[in-house]
């Protein structure tokens, strides 16, 4: 990852206050888009719209939760969509082979996801390889294995009970029941991040690995388990995906990792680690889903949507950075004798930590 220090090192402000600021912005954004959309675009106020939005964002929200934690610790997992695909194809293959008990299929998929995540974890924590490169490799490997498992075929003859059951609405509403699963996971992750020492430890790991180690956190073990969780959740998303679309194919979820990363970044999580949280990310997931669907409904062409997504992503990081640089300059002007900004104070720990790895490249 680029080592340019930015205001990402949150020394002047406690981490949580910066969090709240950006989270609020995103949540306000969602509300604004929803309100303006309902007023101006025909169909946004309709419950069916929200049902479709929910169905679309469920896999992204699922995967974004552990991804948030991983990015907070300064790592990244780009293999999630391939885990989703492999889990979908394995489910399809097993079903084809005669395994028709749904709990068994789900259990096998979750276990597979955990194993795939563990593999990532081993490469990253035991062998010390950079997570970007490792997960690019496993992205290709796992997706390739999906093609080996199922080739070009699609397994699509699942029982109606399963497929319609997966997307059935909560009694009395139009929102699918699966959102409760997502909500439950979201609550669990939020509690973990905001209220437990483990959560604080994640931020510490993201800011400075050495400081975290000295504070007694087992960095390697924590990261390992984060990747295992990421793989398991991605596999769960694979099960949802397969049954929602009633089709298991090797290219299921292809490219989804970019949507997840976009949502995580838009949600205020710094790619350097140490900043951001699940609330902002979930809001960002919803924002992107609502925006996409609402603009589609408003007959905005797909090409424009692509440009808007890209622009939003860039704005989501350029914005806070510009604000931080402006703030630094303003602060420096106010106190002429003040020490130079973050850049000079961050290097010593980074340089010390970087010296052996420098040779490692």
């Amino acid at each position: 990852m680029a080592e340019f220090t930015t205001a990402g090192s949150t020394r002047r402000h406690p981490a949580w206050s910066v969090l709240v600021a950006w989270d609020t912005v995103v949540i306000v954004g969602v509300v604004l888009v929803a309100v303006i959309g309902s007023a101006t675009i025909d169909g946004v106020a309709d419950p069916r719209f929200w049902r479709f939005v929910t169905l679309d964002v469920i896999p992204i929200a699922l995967i974004a939760l552990p991804m948030t934690l991983i990015v907070i610790t300064g790592e990244i997992d780009l293999s999630v969509a391939s885990v989703l695909g492999l889990s979908a194809t394995v489910m399809g293959k097993l079903y084809e082979a005669g395994v028709t008990a749904l709990p068994v299929l789900i259990a096998v998929c979750l276990l597979l996801g955990a194993v795939l995540g563990a593999l990532n974890g081993i490469f990253i924590t035991v062998f010390g390889l950079p997570s970007l490169a490792v997960t690019i490799g496993t992205l290709a490997l796992y997706r390739g294995l999906s093609f080996v498992v199922l080739g070009d075929k699609a397994v699509a003859d699942y029982p109606i009970a399963w497929t319609s059951g997966m997307i059935r609405a909560i009694h009395g509403l139009t929102i699918p029941w699966f959102i409760l699963v997502v909500a439950g996971l979201a609550v669990a992750f939020c509690v973990l991040v905001y209220l437990t020492p483990i959560g604080r430890g994640l931020y510490a790991m993201g800011n400075s690995v050495d400081a975290a180690t000295f504070a007694g956190i087992n960095v390697a073990r924590t990261k390992f388990w984060l990747f295992v969780v990421s793989g398991t959740v991605a596999a769960l998303a694979g099960v949802f995906w397969t049954l929602r679309f009633a089709s298991a194919r090797a290219d299921n979820g292809s490219g989804l990792e970019l949507s997840v990363v976009a949502a995580v970044l838009l949600g205020g999580v710094s790619i350097f680690g140490g900043r951001g949280g699940p609330i902002g990310v979930l809001a960002a997931v919803v924002l992107l889903g609502v925006l996409n669907n609402a603009l589609q409904l408003a007959y905005v062409p797909a090409n424009t949507l692509t440009i808007v997504t890209g622009a939003l992503l860039i704005a989501s990081v350029v914005g806070p950075n510009l604000v931080a640089i402006a703030r630094q300059r303003w602060r420096r002007r106010r106190r002429p004798g003040a020490p130079p900004p973050a850049a000079a104070t961050a290097p010593p720990p980074a340089a010390v930590a970087a010296a052996p790895p420098v040779a490692g490249g």
């Binding site: 490792v134 290709a140 294995l145 990081v317």
Partner: protein
């Protein structure tokens, strides 16, 4: 590696480079030998020409990517830049058929450089992480490409035959496109090795803060690294149009991961500071040969992606192992004084 390491360490580092690239070269040779044993026609003049042609575009983009990765960044927008410049090439020929081919090359490279400059400016001046910026520009450039192209398609018949001959022609049996790639990689390799600003890229990648403190204009170096990557992707786009003839807005879709894979497999460490463009080109050739060898070996092409993934993982594992050994040797040497 920074230029301040002692002479024995420098030669050790250089030896590391050579070993790493030799490793790829060896893997390549092994693969070719095995495939030729299975089917001798794999090494026929026609097939070799095809392999070289197939690797060229990937190789040129991998050189640009290597330059960026050496500075501890990544450029995910190269696929979209290729699509944009390929379509620009086709459209230019369509609407201005009298334009000399050299002019179209300049236009393509300039457009690519412009895209790279956008990336570089955002990353260097506003200090935004490259992963995010290039992810955003991946979407934006592709969106512009789609909007501009609006589903139209440029066909081989719309382009001057001389241009298309570039795409499939050969000089003494070596495809013209491959020669272009050779020129590019030799130029890039020479620049990185002999010019101070080239060597400084390695310093920037090894330790940006130390580089900045020692007076290297990090922002400027990074900016030009991205301009280079964009320009080379632009060049690749022009050559793509020459090779394929028929282009539409989807050219290059999804190719960025292959380009990064080629660089990583070729020994360019994702954490910056080491690797060479020669390795990146070897990585590109290896990936292409795998794609061509699998059908000949009778292996289902479905294994190709998995094979690429395994290659990437072995490559970075090998890099780490070699680097650890080197670090150990350096530390021992330093301790000995």
């Amino acid at each position: 590696m920074s230029a301040t390491t002692a002479a024995p360490a420098t030669s050790a580092v250089q030896r590391l480079f050579v070993v790493r690239e030799l490793g790829i070269g060896l893997a390549l040779v092994l693969l070719v030998v095995v495939t030729t044993l299975v089917n001798p026609r794999f090494l026929s003049a026609q097939n070799v020409k095809d392999l070289l042609l197939g690797a060229t575009i990937l190789a040129i983009m991998a050189v640009g990517q290597a330059v960026v990765i050496i500075t501890r960044n990544v450029d995910l927008s190269v696929g979209s830049v290729l699509g944009l410049t390929t379509f620009a090439t086709g459209t230019t020929f369509l609407h201005h058929p009298g334009l000399p081919i050299a002019a179209v090359f300049v236009i393509g490279v300039a457009l690519g450089a412009l895209c790279g400059a956008v990336n570089g400016a955002l990353i260097a001046s506003v200090r935004v992480p490259a992963l995010v910026v290039t992810l955003g520009t991946l979407y934006m450039f592709r969106g512009f490409d789609y909007t501009w192209a609006a589903s139209s398609q440029i066909n081989a018949a719309d382009m001057p035959p001389a241009f298309l001959r570039l795409g499939s022609g050969a000089v003494f049996g070596v495809p013209v496109l491959a020669l272009v790639a050779v020129v590019v990689v030799v130029a890039a390799g020479a620049y990185l090795r002999t010019y101070a600003s080239g060597r400084e890229l390695y310093a920037v990648g090894s330790n940006p803060d130390a580089a900045r403190l020692s007076g290297i204009p990090v922002g400027r170096r990074v900016f030009w690294a991205f301009v280079t990557s964009g320009a080379l992707a632009g060049l690749a786009g022009v050559l793509y149009a020459a090779r394929f003839g028929t282009v539409d807005a989807n050219a290059g879709l999804g190719s960025e991961l292959n380009v990064v894979a080629a660089a990583v497999v070729g020994g360019v460490a994702i954490f910056g500071g080491s690797g060479s463009v020669y390795g990146a080109v070897l990585g590109a050739v290896l990936l292409t040969v795998i794609g061509a060898a699998l059908p000949v070996l009778g292996v289902s092409p479905f294994w190709e992606k998995a094979a690429v993934g395994l290659l990437i993982l072995s490559a970075i594992g090998l890099d780490r192992a070699l680097a650890a050994r080197l670090a150990g040797r350096l530390t021992v040497r330093r301790a000995r004084g």
